[in-house]
């Protein structure tokens, strides 16, 4: 293993081509991963921010907030389920927001949430009626603290009293207010969607899993199929377009990882062919095939990790330099680690192409036919 590392550090030029190609591929993996994360954050953060164990929709709503209705009696049945500690109503309405001094058609896409159980980053008690806390990304659209936004065709006024991070919903800037604020704005702007008092679109449930299938199954059983209960993660994944985004980017990333596997496989296969003489000598003086193959894997791992570190730095550079709001991009330690581990596994799998050659190296070849 030390031998492999010495070769790597003393003959870096030998690994430059593979390193450069792997750096390019790792950069692509991290950029596409960052764009996927950015898109998902922009789409699902408002749901993922919910501090609960499950989200309950009405059974016919197909996990859509807009179609779902949870009335008082249904809520009472849910709250009676063993293990349910607390529930909180959620309501949303998607509307264009007019900023002061902006033109009449100059709208900012927003979604107003009314909440009872505070999502992450928001105060336990919702803002006073008529006031909202805005998602941080709305600053890039010109929204400021103290600004009065006028929502929808009815131009319902809400005052921004603060900002919160990572709460957008389907690419729209989130505004978080009290249930009364939401209901007032909904009534004024969507007369066809007016809900009876005490009826919400969804419920966030805080509780303990109980029985087979956990909390969600217990709730759906208790309501005799009138509800469809999902974990917060599943509810986020059920949002329109999320699965498609994930699948599309996943396929692109998997293709790049496969190319990385082939690059590493071909490069180290060629390197192994070049080294047959050296391997013959090493086997003759007592090196096992395992030791030689481990050296190959170590070299592939170091080249791959180095490529990923450079790619990670480039991804951070992109994150810092790209103007806010111009590209949905989010690089995280988790994405960096996942990309690195994935490429590392691909690199090690690529090395496996050379295993047979290493096993077949004949130590007698070191002695040659001269004896």
């Amino acid at each position: 293993m030390r031998l492999a590392l010495r070769e790597l550090f003393r003959r870096p030029g030998r690994f430059l081509t593979a390193g450069a190609i792997l750096t390019l591929l790792a950069t692509l993996v991290m950029l596409f991963g960052g764009i996927l994360d950015g898109l998902l954050d922009n789409s699902t953060a408002g749901v993922r921010a919910q501090r609960g164990d499950a989200l309950v929709f009405s059974a016919q709503a197909k996990e859509s907030f807009l179609r779902s209705r949870i009335d008082r009696s249904l809520r009472a049945r849910i709250e009676a389920v063993p293990g349910v500690a607390r529930t909180g109503g959620i309501g949303i309405v998607q509307l264009g927001a007019r900023l002061p001094d902006a033109g009449p058609r100059d709208l900012v896409d927003t979604v107003l949430f009314g909440y009872e159980v505070a999502p992450q980053g928001l105060p336990d008690t919702p803002p006073a009626d008529g006031e909202v806390i805005a998602d941080d990304t709305l600053r890039d659209q010109g929204v400021e603290r103290g600004m009065v936004l006028r929502l929808g065709p009815a131009r319902s006024p809400v005052t921004v009293i603060g900002f919160v991070e990572q709460t957008n919903y389907l690419g729209q800037g989130a505004l978080w207010g009290s249930p009364t604020t939401w209901r007032t704005v909904l009534t004024a702007n969507r007369p066809d969607e007016i809900l009876p008092a005490d009826t919400f679109q969804s419920l966030v449930v805080v509780g303990e899993p109980s029985g087979p299938g956990g909390l969600a199954a217990a709730i759906d059983a208790a309501t005799a199929g009138a509800t469809r209960t999902l974990t917060v993660e599943a509810a986020a994944d059920a949002l329109p377009g999320v699965k498609e985004q994930r699948a599309t980017f996943g396929q692109i990333i998997n293709t790049i990882v496969f190319v990385a596997l082939v690059v590493v496989g071909l490069f180290f296969a060629l390197l192994t062919v070049e080294r047959m003489g050296l391997y013959g000598v090493l086997k003759a003086i007592g090196a096992s095939s395992r030791t030689l193959f481990a050296g190959l894997v170590v070299q592939a791992a170091v080249v791959t990790i180095s490529a990923c570190v450079i790619a990670g730095a480039l991804a951070v550079l992109v994150d810092v330099t790209v103007p806010a709001g111009s590209l949905p991009f989010a690089i995280s330690a988790g994405r960096f680690a996942t990309s690195t581990v994935t490429l590392l596994v691909a690199a090690i799998a690529g090395c496996a192409f050379s295993l047979r050659r290493v096993l077949r190296v004949d130590p007698a070849s070191a002695i040659g036919g001269s004896l």
Partner: protein, 229 residues
């Protein structure tokens, strides 16, 4: 001077090696019987294709015989598995190859230490031994040089040092003087004899060079796989 161990370094008894070739067989070694004493230097001489390679690879634990028995330093390696043979080569025999075959990106000292790195490392003890060997081979001032920075004779001495790193029972030399001029060849053979005798280590020197045969204690001829003492 080390007192030689009475156990022979090598005992080959009726060793036969047959290579399949299509429907027929090629007999590379035919009932070869050879004993090499504990500090004996044997010159193995024969034409190309006579079986010198096969004999050395079997004596060095690289190949297993088709029939017969091979005992090195008291260890019967006849039935050893591939894994056992790897361990045997690492601990019991030394090789000096015709083309020297030093590892080009390692210094002279590291080329010796690589033997230690192949198995369970002994660390400081190996470093001491490498320094001692380099000193004995008059290479202390070249310890940090890469093979490309050494002369042919110096590279050959590094290869000898590498072969002696594991304190072998038997060292196999493959044409050690073939790439050297007469004077340097003499120096290298004198050095080999000195190093082997001072350690009580046995050696088989394969050579075509009649001028160096006098450095051996015994000359063994091989023709068509048969030994002729």
């Amino acid at each position: 001077m080390t007192h030689p161990d009475p156990t022979p370094a090598l005992q080959m008894t009726a060793v036969r090696k047959v290579y399949p070739m299509g429907d027929s067989e090629v007999v590379a070694l035919d009932h070869a019987t050879l004993t090499v004493g504990a500090d004996e230097i044997v010159a193995l001489v024969g034409p190309s294709g006579s079986g010198k390679t096969t004999l050395c690879t079997i004596a060095g634990g690289i190949l297993s015989p088709t029939a017969g028995q091979v005992v090195v330093g008291g260890r019967d390696i006849t039935g050893y598995s591939s894994k056992q043979l790897t361990e045997f080569r690492r601990t019991t025999v030394g090789f000096v190859f015709q083309s020297v075959n030093l590892i080009p990106f390692l210094t002279a000292r590291e080329n010796l230490l690589v033997v230690d790195e192949m198995g369970r490392r002994t660390g400081a003890a190996a470093r001491r031994r490498a320094d001692q060997l380099l000193g004995e081979l008059d290479l202390s001032d070249r310890a940090g040089n890469l093979p490309s920075q050494l002369s042919g004779g110096q590279r050959q001495r590094v290869a000898i040092g590498r072969a002696l790193m594991n304190e072998p029972t038997l060292v196999l030399f493959d044409e050690p003087t073939s790439a050297l001029d007469t004077a340097l060849g003499d120096q290298v053979m004198a050095l080999i004899r000195h190093e082997m005798k001072s350690r009580g280590t046995a050696a088989i020197v394969v050579t075509h060079d009649e001028r160096i045969l006098h450095y051996a204690d015994r000359v063994v001829h091989i023709t068509d796989g048969r030994l002729d003492a």
